[in-house]
Amino acid sequence: MLSVEPNPVIKGSLTVIILKLLEENSRMYGYEMTRAVRDVTKNKMDITEAALYPALHKLLEEGLLETTSEVVDGRMRKYYSLTKKGKKETVSKINALKDAIGSLQLILNSNLSNG
């Protein structure tokens, strides 16, 4: 299983992963996000708490996310959702990441030898 924390390439994409998850779901809580990534990637990728919560904090600080709290099953649950600014930026950030991945694939799939 690929853990988000040690892999720098995936770590750099974590904020986009979070934005994408929240674009497709009106709101999610922290654990739900980690489970969603594991389920979609069939356990190939795992987001650790050490990576997730700093990324959520960064997105909150940038004003792309907001939070609401509710009592669920006897505990306080904090839900994250996209702000208006977050919804706008999600599209551009996902497109930017797709472009970057496309460029990487071109490099990795081509013959780069000199001569």
């Binding site: 922290g30 654990y31 739900e32 050490a50 919560y53 959520l56 509710e70 009592v71 669920v72 505990r75």
Partner: protein, 234 residues
């Protein structure tokens, strides 16, 4: 098979576990509890014969070497950033109001004139800059104490309170390091120094009101958490 949901007794065992790992402040415990409980439930769903204690240990291990710290650090950082924005907004609101500008100018004029009057009437010791700095520190300290008592149900270790009161620590530092009181100045310079200190004192009062309003907002924002904490007796 139904998904496992921890009951109140089991949640209290988790709360005890969180506290034994050094996180005892109720707001922080509430912040950690849900994610931790979800992990424990997942473990017990995957391995139905696993005991709660074993599921706790495994779930905690999954948090890695940092344990619960990333959740706590992110939570505290969010609070600090959120209330710094509120505090600055409150401060701007007050300082931009023309009434306060007029009051500040009147205080400046009064203290400036008062110094020369005190010189002429041999009672400058009442405006001595050393004493004013001590008075400023006292006023500042008492105002922080008042705020902490007003919101005593929070406690000084509460992360909302720490995020907000921490905004002003540089002010106390500046008062303590104020170099003005170490020198003997001429009369005009002393008058200006006293005036600046008086304006600074007025500014401290304004900051106090901004801090108070910010704390009130923090208190209101966290009502849902406070109600929850009362219900679980954390």
């Amino acid at each position: 098979m139904d998904k496992k949901t921890l009951n109140q007794d089991e949640l209290h065992i988790l709360i005890g576990f969180i506290k034994r790992h050094g996180f005892t402040e109720p707001f922080i415990v509430a912040e950690i509890l849900d994610h931790f409980a979800c992990k424990v439930e997942e473990k017990m769903d995957q391995h139905p014969h696993l005991s709660l204690e074993a599921a706790l240990a495994e779930a905690h291990q999954d948090f890695g070497v940092m344990g619960f710290r990333p959740i706590v650090r992110a939570y505290e950082a969010n609070l600090k950033q959120k209330y710094r924005t509120v505090y600055r907004g409150e401060l701007k609101k007050i300082l931009a109001h023309p009434v306060y500008v007029v009051i500040a100018l009147l205080i400046a004029a009064a203290f400036y004139k008062a110094w020369f009057w005190a010189e002429q009437n041999s009672c400058r010791q009442f405006l001595d800059i050393n004493d004013i700095d001590i008075e400023l520190l006292f006023v500042y300290g008492m105002s922080i104490l008042f705020l902490s008592r007003k919101f005593s149900s929070f406690g000084l270790r509460n992360p909302v309170v720490k995020a907000i009161l921490g905004l002003d620590t540089w002010v106390a530092f500046f008062i303590g390091l104020n170099p003005m009181h170490h020198y003997k100045y001429g009369t005009k310079v002393q008058a200006v120094a006293i005036t600046v200190n008086a304006i600074f004192c007025f500014y401290l009062v304004v900051r106090f009101f901004a801090l108070y309003t910010t704390l009130k907002k923090g208190y209101k924002d966290s009502e849902i958490v406070q109600d929850y904490l009362k219900s679980v007796d954390l």
